[in-house]
């Protein structure tokens, strides 16, 4: 061999151990990936909901990806109170318009999952506490959301998430 001290054995050693290392890492991939959501879980990714029976001031809980979705028909007063807020003062600044579909700002569609640690906030069901801002109240750790489901008080960092949705007709909304 050449006089630089590198022997054939060294090359074989490094090549063999590197190859085994790459193989070991490659074998890890399926072991980690198997824990991610499986195909059937991902497949349940859209749902259609009839909203014709929801009167202004009412809300329903639907299910999307096995999680609750709040569909709320806002009253004009609720829209007004949401618009009256200085957006810059919010923890997660967003207007009601940005959170709803143009021309259908009365339909507030959000996940019913508190952005703190994932409890279902109260306020969608009949007679439930809506919190001091008239939207939703999470009983777990005391987060309070306003009528645009924006975080106003408590530990949650974000507004209630608006899931991707579109109106198939005036009375049917498709979520996902």
């Amino acid at each position: 061999m050449a006089g630089d001290g590198v022997r054939r054995r060294d090359f074989i050693n490094i090549a063999a151990v590197s190859f085994a290392g790459v193989g070991g890492l490659a074998a890890l991939y399926p072991l980690i990936s198997q824990m991610a959501p499986s195909a059937d879980v991902l497949a349940e990714s859209s749902t259609e909901i009839d909203i014709s029976a929801i009167a202004p001031g009412q809300a329903i809980k639907a299910v999307w990806r096995k999680q609750p979705v709040f569909i709320r028909n806002l009253t004009p007063e609720e829209i007004k109170s949401a618009d009256a807020v200085d957006v810059a003062s919010l923890r997660d600044p967003q207007t009601l318009e940005q959170r709803t579909t143009a021309g259908k700002t009365n339909w507030l569609i959000t996940m019913g999952v508190c952005t703190h640690l994932g409890c279902v906030p109260l306020g969608a069901g009949e007679g439930e506490v809506k919190g001091e801002f008239g939207g939703y109240f999470c009983p777990c750790h005391g987060s309070v959301y306003d009528t645009a489901a924006r975080i106003r008080k408590g530990p949650a960092p974000k507004n209630l998430e608006v899931p991707p949705h579109e109106f198939s007709s005036d009375t049917v909304v498709k979520i996902g």
Binding site: A36, V41, C119, P139, P155, P157
Partner: protein, 434 residues
């Protein structure tokens, strides 16, 4: 390692000699928890809790393995299979109550074991590794207990799983995908339940492995003792067997009395009625709390209600909760006093009791609803908790004048007794100090 005067294993029966030559396992046990392990002669009952924790682990493994023979880890039938165990399986009610209350007993003895360590500064050199491994065991225990609580798939199980995996979503950038990966979905469901069951079965054996390392590390310097003075001579020690096997046996009797009282007379005392309602992903129980042994940490999590500088409140709460345990890893280096035992540290002792009260207050607030005045009390108590470890302990260590230590363990035990004869190896000085 052991002290030079440790008894040597000398099997007399030819079969035992034969085994000892091929695989010296009986010798290993003899040296670990038998007559071959010299232990300080002055251990008090606070030294029972290590053995009790080991017993609790065995109890959990035995009851857990048989429960797994009847339980079905499927979101559709898990709740019913637990009811099946309670109603139909022979002795199923007893086994399940034994397992559920066994977890509480395990935490009671482990918390006592940890606070014993705080008071007697058991974490100090040369025993840092024992302490570090102990903290690892505690973290594994918490993970195991949490996943076990999810298995009955009641309301508290489900929402506990959601909230605890939600902690990981607080991590910037990778948080939400990490939570989805942990759950195998967007909310707890069959995938999560199955993997929790698998890990709940695995982790106790991992704990067993770390306990072996914990005891191995313990046997290098040998056990500490209430004076904190190291063993100097043979008269300072007695063999573990029969002296401490007997003492631990007595403690075990008390442990079993408390345990049986819980299992047979108040099996649901420490549980939540909500967990007898099947999991409902659309409705969160009004008052959601973890099991009692997580309350102090849960209170710290909830204490952060507004953003701190650029860190959102949610992330801050999660960081604080994990830090509350991780700070224990630094304890051997935060407490710089050369004196170990709290008996000889008057100032340290006061702050030790303040910490005990602080943790009890945190525990109470963690179990209370998320409203005033509990939120404010948790905030003050959380602050004090970190203040204790990060500020008070280092300061106390540097300004405190400890009380005089006894020359040896033997002197501490016999020195005040005028009629007692000290062992010959003890120097003749040892004046009786008042």
């Amino acid at each position: 390692m052991s002290f030079p005067w440790a008894n040597e294993y000398k099997p007399s029966h030819p079969l035992m000699q034969w085994i000892d030559e091929k695989l010296p396992l009986p010798r290993f046990v003899y040296n670990a928890v038998g007559a071959g392990y010299p232990v300080p002669r002055n251990l008090n009952y606070m030294w029972n809790f290590g053995v009790l924790a080991g017993f609790a682990l065995v109890l959990q493994i035995v009851t857990g393995v048989v429960l797994a023979m009847h339980y079905a880890a499927n979101a559709g039938v898990a709740f019913d299979s637990v009811e099946h165990i309670m109603r139909d399986v022979n002795w199923g009610w007893m086994l399940r109550y034994a397992h559920a209350n066994g977890a509480s007993m395990f935490f009671i003895v482990v918390y006592t074991h940890i606070f014993r360590g705080f008071f007697y500064s058991s974490y100090k050199a040369p025993r840092e590794m024992i302490w570090l491994l102990g903290v690892v065991i505690f973290l594994l225990m918490m993970a195991t207990a949490f996943m076990g609580y999810v298995l009955p798939w009641g309301q508290m199980s489900f929402w506990g799983a959601k909230v605890i995996t939600g902690l990981f979503s607080a991590i910037p950038l990778v948080g939400p995908p990490l939570q989805e990966w942990l759950l195998g979905g967007f909310a707890p469901d069959n995938a999560a339940l199955n993997r929790f069951f698998s890990l709940h079965f695995l982790l106790p054996f991992v704990i067993l492995g770390v306990i072996i390392l914990h005891v191995w590390a313990l046997h290098i310097p040998g056990s500490s003792n209430p004076t904190g003075v190291e063993v100097k001579q043979e008269s300072d020690t007695v063999p573990f067997h029969p002296y401490y096997t007997a003492k631990d046996g007595f403690g075990l009797g008390i442990f079993l009395m408390v345990y049986c009282a819980l299992v047979f007379f108040a099996p649901n005392l420490l549980g939540h009625p909500d967990n007898y309602i099947p999991a409902n992903p659309l409705s969160t129980p009004a008052h959601i709390v973890p099991e009692w042994y997580f309350w102090p940490f849960y209170a710290i999590l909830r204490a952060f209600t507004s953003d701190f500088l650029i860190i959102p409140a949610k992330l801050m709460g999660v960081l604080a909760m994990f830090s509350a345990i991780l700070v224990w890893f630094f304890l051997p280096w935060l407490d710089t006093s050369p004196v170990r035992s709290g008996h000889y540290r008057p100032l340290f002792r006061k702050f030790f009791y303040a910490l005990v009260i602080d943790v009890l207050v945190l525990g109470y607030c963690g179990g209370a609803p998320a409203e005033e005045p509990y939120v404010m009390i948790s905030q003050i108590a959380s602050m004090y908790y970190f203040l204790h470890f990060l500020v008070i302990l280092p300061i106390v260590s540097s300004i405190e004048t400890p009380q005089p230590l006894p020359f040896s363990i033997t002197e501490a035990v016999l020195g005040k007794d005028e009629h007692a004869t000290l062992a010959p190896a003890t120097p003749p000085s040892a004046p009786a100090v008042a």
